[in-house]
Point group: C2
Chain length 189, copies 2
């Protein structure tokens, strides 16, 4: 069935994710992945176009993983309850897998699969916001605001952008209040 090491694109991405989890994003090198999969570096090119492509595959995985988590968290809840669950789950994912979260692309990627995954993520937010009775355009603006708040907090937290780490839970509760308050009382254009 499979020749030698039984490698596949999936297995390569798996190994790359382990590497990222353990040693951070900067440690993601084809040599390291090859080493971890017990293969010579050039052999990886049989499964992955190049390093950039591997990074995109990773981003795709992370995005889908996050989307799944958020969907599960929001399921069966509505309105503020759902928003709160969504935001908590989001932060929790980044806390559990900070390096994976950091692996999300920081620059515009022209990748179609990635864009689709981003769309799926947005869909989860939109689904939750429908409970607020927001019309199409308003829902989009509201979604962006929620995403901005959540991503901003998490990104700053992961990057060590906040001083004291003790009270971050409290800050996040405040942020949740701010967001859900804004959704309740705010006027979205």
């Amino acid at each position: 069935m499979v020749s030698r090491a039984g490698l596949s694109q999936e297995a390569v991405v798996d190994a790359a994710l382990e590497l990222v989890d353990q040693d951070g994003l900067d440690a993601l090198t084809l040599a390291a992945v090859a080493n971890r999969t017990g293969v010579a570096t050039p052999s990886l090119y049989k499964h992955v176009r190049n390093l950039a492509a591997l990074r995109q595959l990773i981003a795709l995985r992370v995005l889908d993983e996050l989307t799944e988590r958020l969907g599960a968290a929001a399921m069966g809840r509505s309105e503020e309850d759902a928003i709160r669950a969504l935001m908590l789950a989001y932060r929790q994912y980044a806390a559990e897998r900070p390096h994976r979260y950091a692996a999300l692309p920081q620059k515009p990627q022209p990748d179609a699969a990635l864009a689709a995954a981003g769309g799926r993520l947005v869909e989860v937010f939109l689904a939750v916001l429908r409970g607020y009775g927001l019309t199409d355009s308003a829902a989009i603006h509201a979604t962006r605001c929620v995403r901005a708040a959540v991503h901003g907090f998490v990104a700053l937290e992961v990057a060590g952008g906040f001083g004291l780490p003790e009270k971050l839970d409290v800050t996040y509760e405040n942020l949740i209040d701010m967001v859900s308050g804004g959704l309740r009382t705010g006027t979205f254009t």
Copy 2:
């Protein structure tokens, strides 16, 4: 006065910033900086410890530049007026210099100068929030929330994380409303 090319750490950072502005963060390479300053690559080590150090110097510059802009924008304003000006100036900086904004560190940096610069940035936010009569701890939480919202939006925008770029101005106005509404009515612990 100065030996040959009249280089200095400042000049190296200047050249590096030009490079980043023009070609993006990935284009920041010692070879490229050397080329731009008319010097052989190893000569740069006379002014900068290594590439990582250069990156930190760049981050420092950007952080201070941003802080200065925000301070100027908030000056003479108070409460919602000031918050609005602050948020608009923040986004405008990132829009003008997206690559510089992206050059801010994404990972915890143990650099003291960088931490100090971060502290100065936070000070501007805190100064504005004092107008809301927030006590110490509450002011810190509120500041973090504002920063999270602003940074999240800007980071997503710079990264192309939003679909349609047309209505982003509108979204940002909504975000400003959400934040200032939260500051007005919210209870910060």
